[in-house]
Every structure is written in C-alpha cells, then in structure tokens.
Symmetry: C2
Subunit: 436 residues, 2 copies
C-alpha cells in the first residue's frame, strides 16, 4: 500500500484523456501537488492508503476548467455600462474609470474577487491581460489559483506607464520576478496589433524569445480592427503578425472572430492557439467566430470569459453551453461542437493553448492535482443519462462543490479555504461606492 494525501471518489470520474473515458465509481489519488493515480475506486482503494477520502455519491470529478482569457480586475466594473456600442462603452465608461481608479491596490482587491468567482465556478487556471500584474499574481497565489499573467503593453500612455519601452521594461521585471513560480506563469500581453505598432511587436517577440514566455494578444476581434490593420499595413491582421514573426506556437490569439479561410489555414499551420470568448463577442455585437471551421483545421481552440465588464461573469460552464448551442445554429448543424468537444475545449485544450498541457487540463498521473468536484444531486441534473451532456448543457457554476488546485483544497462546500468571502465582497462594495 502506498500513502496518498487524498482519495477523491466520484460516481463519474472524467479524466478528459485521449479516449474520453468515463470511470464509473472512480477515484483520483493525490499526493503532494500531483495526481498519482486515476482509476476505479475498488482498485485505487487497494493500492493507496489515505486519511482523507472524499466521498463520491452523486458526484462528478473532472479536471479544473481553464479560462484562457480574462481581465480579472475588471470585475469591479461588472455591469457598470451595458448594452452600448463598443466605442461608447470604452471611451465614455471603461477608459475613464480605469484612468481614475487603477492602482496596484485596486488590481489586488478586484483580482481576489475575480479569483473567488472563478474558483467557485470550477475554474482552476486563468489567463490574464491587464496592468499591475504583480498585484494580480499576489492575489491569485493568496487564494490558491493557477494563472498565466500577461503584463499589458500598448503604444500610448496609461496610468501604468508612459510608452511601449516603459511597459516592456516592466514586463521584463515582471517575468524575471515570477518565472519558475509553482502557480504563476508570466507572459507578455500586447493589447492588439492596432494598439501596438510593428516596432513594439518586434521588441515583444525578442523579449518573449529571450525568456521563453508566451505572448497573448487580442486578434481580429471586430470588423473595424481588420479594416484598420488593412488600411495601415496593407495586410489582414493574421498576415500582419506573420510578417513580423509573431505567428508561432507560443502565441495565444484571443477572439479571432473575423477570419477568412486562408487565415484559418495560417493559424493551423503555425500552431497558434485560439481563445474563444463567445459571450463577450455576442454581447458586444462583435460577431460570431468560425469555431467549427477552426477545429476542423486542427487549431486548438479553448474558452475564455473575457473581462466581467463585457460578459458579465467569469463562468466557463456557461461559455461551453453558449458556444455549443450557438455554433450549431450558425452552422445549421446540431452535431457540431458536441458536449464532449465542449468539455475538451474547457479543460485539456485550454491547458494546451496556454502552454500548460503537461501540467494541467486532464486527470492523468503526474499532472498537477487541479480538480473539480461537482454535485449532481440536484433537480436540474436529474435524471442522468450522459454525464458530458449534463456538464455541457445543464450544469451551473453553483453545482461546483469543492475544488483542488495543485493538490491543495481551495474551495470546500462552496466556501474558499484561504480567503474570507464576506470580506472580499465588502471590499468590492466599498470600491464600487467610490467608482459609481
């Protein structure tokens, strides 16, 4: 018998491995930060001794969900301005609020709230693009969440810097500080090809190569963006990035709503991962991303929530459900983006898009124990014929009961283990009274 720290049992264990196996009355054995075994409970219980056995009746055990794109701290602007054209929303509400309120303290407090919301929705890893990312990293670590944090870069002055060189200098300091952290992966996050000129993008590539970190960038989100890049550089956005050497496998391309067939092939050929933020794209009226076409071309597509100011939540389960439904209607084909594919995109593909495929995204021996326990004992999850279908189409964030990140219990019975929910909510209310 070997010793395990936890044996997590479930009526349904979904490893999200290559064969989409469903282990009935399964279990996951965890030791330290890692998964040491996955299988049927009767086998696991013969091999491992553990004082902590988490019971699994009417429970599903699945990999932690991956949110491949957000601006976590924008959660403090949730619902501040809705149902508006993008330009008015940004210029009249979001930018003025950011330039007035952003600070390390704001980012720290707001990120705590965002992480709490995400963990309670079963998200164990998120990828962020914002400013004051040191504050964000401290907040994520405090609550115990895995994150890829992108130091934001634009060509114009903001509250966090004067110009591209200052942002780049900050980004390098940020990378050096966080590289090797067990939970935080630093990266570089140029806002977009319209907010960063070619010279800045080339410097970013150089810095990314130097430190071997990924680059996250908004790409082809709106029709306006495509026209703007064409006007400025005589090329569509994907071609423009290619010409600058920025189309390669460490790029996480966020949105990719407006692509032609050639661009889809280019993304596939260069192994660029795509973050699909359907609820944000729909709500801002940006358009509908050709996800089924991208998946057919072999592109890794995963889900992102975008910021809560444009969504208005940080909930990958609802992104799955919305995406699976919308792409069926748009394709006129109810077989596209089936429940299994949706959950794959929310887990393993999400981790691979972020460059964390060896660390998280599935329940497999040797990977980090990033695990979600879902309570199926609810009217809206009854009866149960197909567990994938229930997770993709019927479950809610509130069905997430307990969550592990890196072998540590961070949510138990919907309560955070290393944070005070009431205090986080109170702080958010205080900030919002000032911001209003």
């Amino acid at each position: 018998m070997q010793q395990a720290d936890y044996i997590i049992r479930g009526d349904y264990v979904l490893p999200m491995d290559e064969s989409y196996s469903v282990i009935k009355d399964g279990a996951v054995a965890v030791k330290g930060e890692a998964i040491v075994d996955v299988g049927q409970y009767k086998d696991i219980s013969k091999k491992y001794l553990s004082k902590k056995i988490i019971p699994g009746k009417n429970r599903a055990v699945l990999p932690g969900l991956i949110n491949t794109h957000t601006h976590a701290a924008m959660v403090y602007f949730r619902g501040m301005a809705d149902d508006l054209p993008l330009k008015e929303w940004l210029e009249k509400y979001i930018w003025p609020a950011e330039s007035k309120w952003l600070s390390p303290e704001f980012v720290s407090d707001a990120t705590e709230l965002a992480c709490l919301e995400m963990l309670k929705a079963g998200i164990t890893t998120y990828s962020d693009m914002y400013f004051f990312e040191d504050a964000s990293g401290n907040a994520a670590k405090k609550i115990g969440m895995r994150a890829v944090l992108g130091a934001g870069i634009v060509d114009f002055p903001t509250i966090s810097g004067k110009n591209a060189d200052e942002y780049l200098g900050n980004a390098e300091k940020f990378i050096e500080k966080w590289k090797g952290d067990e939970l935080i992966t630093p990266c570089i996050a140029p806002h977009s090809a319209y907010a960063c000129g070619p010279e800045t993008l080339k410097k970013i590539k150089k810095l990314a190569d130097k430190h071997d970190v990924p680059i996250h960038i908004h790409l082809s989100e709106t029709r306006w963006e495509v026209e703007d890049i064409q006007k400025k550089y005589g090329r569509r956005p994907i071609d423009h990035l290619y010409s600058l050497g920025l189309l390669y496998e460490k790029i996480v391309a966020v949105h990719c709503v407006w692509l032609d067939e050639n661009e889809i092939q280019m993304l596939a050929r260069h192994k660029v991962g795509v973050s699909h933020c359907i609820e944000s794209n729909l709500k801002l009226g940006s358009g509908i991303t050709p996800v089924p076409q991208m998946l057919r071309a072999g592109i890794k597509v995963a889900f992102g929530t975008d910021g809560a100011a444009s969504n208005n939540d940080l909930n990958i389960l609802s992104e799955m459900s919305t995406a699976a439904k919308v792409h069926k209607a748009v394709s006129n084909d109810p077989t596209v983006l089936d429940a299994k594919t949706a959950l794959l995109m929310a887990t393993r593909l999400g981790a691979e898009v972020l460059g964390l495929g060896k660390i998280t995204g599935s329940l497999e021996k040797g990977k980090a124990a990033d695990i979600v326990i879902m309570n199926l004992d609810k009217p809206h999850l009854t009866p149960l014929y197909d567990i994938y279908s229930h997770i993709a189409y019927s479950s809610m964030a509130s069905d997430v009961e307990s969550v592990f990140v890196n072998g540590k219990l961070v949510v138990v019975n919907r309560k955070p283990c290393s944070a005070d929910e009431g205090e986080i909510i109170s702080k958010a209310r205080e900030w919002s009274r000032k911001i209003r």
Copy 2:
C-alpha cells in the same frame, strides 16, 4: 394600519411596471392571494401590520418569471440524446421512448420534477404542451405552481389517443374539468400545422371559441416546416393559419424562427403572441428568430425553455441571457434587447402572451402574489451598479432564494415547501433506470 399576511422587503424591488421603476429599500405587501401594495419599505411599514416580514438586505424582489413554452414531462428524457439532427433525435430516441413510457403516472412524476426545477429557477408560471395533462395539472397544483396546460392534438395515433377526434374529445373534457381553477388555465395545443391538417385546425378553433380558451401551436420552427406547408397548401405557415381563421390574439405561436417581413407584420396586426425558445432553437440547429424585428413591429415576444430534452434545462434566466447576447451579435448591434427588455419579456410580456396579463407578470396592486426573492450576496453578483444588468447577464437560477405563487410560499431558502426534493429526485432516477 391594515393587516397583511407578508411584507416582503428588498434592497431592490422591481415591479416591472410601465415605467421600469426600481424601488430601493422597497417592499411588497401581500394579503391572501394578492399583492395589496408595493412601495418603499418606510411607507409600507407605516400602512401595514404583518407578523411575517421577510428581510431584504442584499435581496432583489421581482415578479415570478414566466416560461411560455415547455413540455414539462419531457424532463425525464433530459440528456438522453444530444448533438443529433432533429429527425434522428425524434425518430430514434424521443418518439420510441414516448410510445414506450408515457402514461399518466409518468407525466405526473416527471412534471413534479420539472415544476421543482422551474420554481427553484424563479419560474412561477409555465405553459405546457403534452399529453395526459390532467396528471400534469395535479402535479403542478400539488407543488403550488401556476400553469397554462395545453391538451396536445395531432392527426395520428399516439399512446394517448387514436385520432384528432379522440384528442379533441379529451381536450374538451380537460377544459371543462379545469376551467375556473385558481392556478391552472386549460388550453388547446395542436402540435403544428404539419401535424394537424386544416380540418383539425378548424375544429380546434371552434372548440377554443366555445370555451374561450387560448391555442398554443409550434409555428415556423424549421426551414423544413415552411417548405412542407408551402408544398401542401401553397402558402407559408402564417398565411396558412390566417386562411383557417387561426391568426388572432388568443394564439400563442411558439418558435417563429422562419418569418419573412410580411409574416412579421401579419403577426403584429393580428396580435399573436410569440414564445421565443432560443436555447432549443440554437441547440437543435433550427435557426435564429428575428426577435428584434418582431419587437420593433410591436409583437409581444416572451421566453420559453421548450422541453428539457432539447435544451437541456428549464431556466428562463439563462434564456434571457442567451437571447440578449445572441440577438446583439446577429443584429451587429449591442444596443438591441437590452437588460430591461429581456426582463420585461421574462415577466410582464410572458404573462400577456399567455393571456394572464391581468393576473401575473408584474408586482402591482391587485395582481396575484407571484414573487421571486433573489439573493445578491454572491461574488458573481458583486459589485452592483445596475440591477437589471445583473439579473439579465450575471444571475444564475441558484440565486433564487424564495418564491411565492398566488400568495403562498412555495420555495424557502431553495427548498420546496410542499414537496420532498429527495423523493422527487429518487423517483426520477427509478424511471430513468427503466428508460435507459
């Protein structure tokens, strides 16, 4: 001082009256089955005495949500077959299961589960189209839910009848039995213009006129349906119903996905109410309903979940969120279907579409006390700048805390008052073991 049975307090009371008022620190006074007053708590508390005061800190109080179309008992087939073309889904899975399992006992047990799910999602009134509606009515009354129940009519034999005349006879008996019930409104529910020929539809109209009851019908759901009706009758579906005298204000037209501009004008002119089931339409790949165009034409459009076999839940909050987002994207305009309009469709317009506009759908003096109390003290509802925006875009069914129907508390702290949740779930599991 007058006596009230309940004073329901809320930081935000949303009456959903004509002026979209938001009453801060508001209250609703309830006596017997009815709302006797709505206003600020300080005024209500001076006018009414009540032993039962429901506290309102961090709570929103809103009218019960209206689900204008479902097949409640199909909840037992939830997730049995997904990601399939409509024809295969119906012919290989749903129809065989129905013909094998449907019975009054099945409908009774399944409807209890559906009602429990709906009440816990803040739905106080639903409109049903199915067979064995007596069983459905008994189940709805037992749990305390308001319902419009449509006795299903088709031209072919099913487990519940041999032919149209038998269904019509049963429908008349059903109407006579339930007419005048305080919670149940009987109606007639021809499946569609392709499943009911012109003679049947004319007889249905006559029966509806005789008893002054509404008619619910699936209409223009798929492109196939439009082509089929055109082939058979030389007219598009709306024109076909008009030619039979079935385009009038007591018709509830369900789906209306495939409409041309002329048909939109016809629906408006004849005051036909529309039930918009966006998640079902998306998931089955049926298409995208022209809702903004219908609203602009003055048509009353409300939300329906459709059956849980094609959705896969009975959740009007998520229909609101999905519809508000999808129509923005399809219209390329983020200002369409704003948060207020979405909540209006889910409440007052829903009641009006069902012919219950004088009884429910808003918190106004004299209307029945169909009331939802939502708990806003959650990370995903923090901070709060705009209550409409939170309900439309951020809330989940699990935020519904307590529910009144017709002056009676039917859900308290997410537990049903006159049903045993565990028993309802157990029964569903027993049935599903047989059905599987």
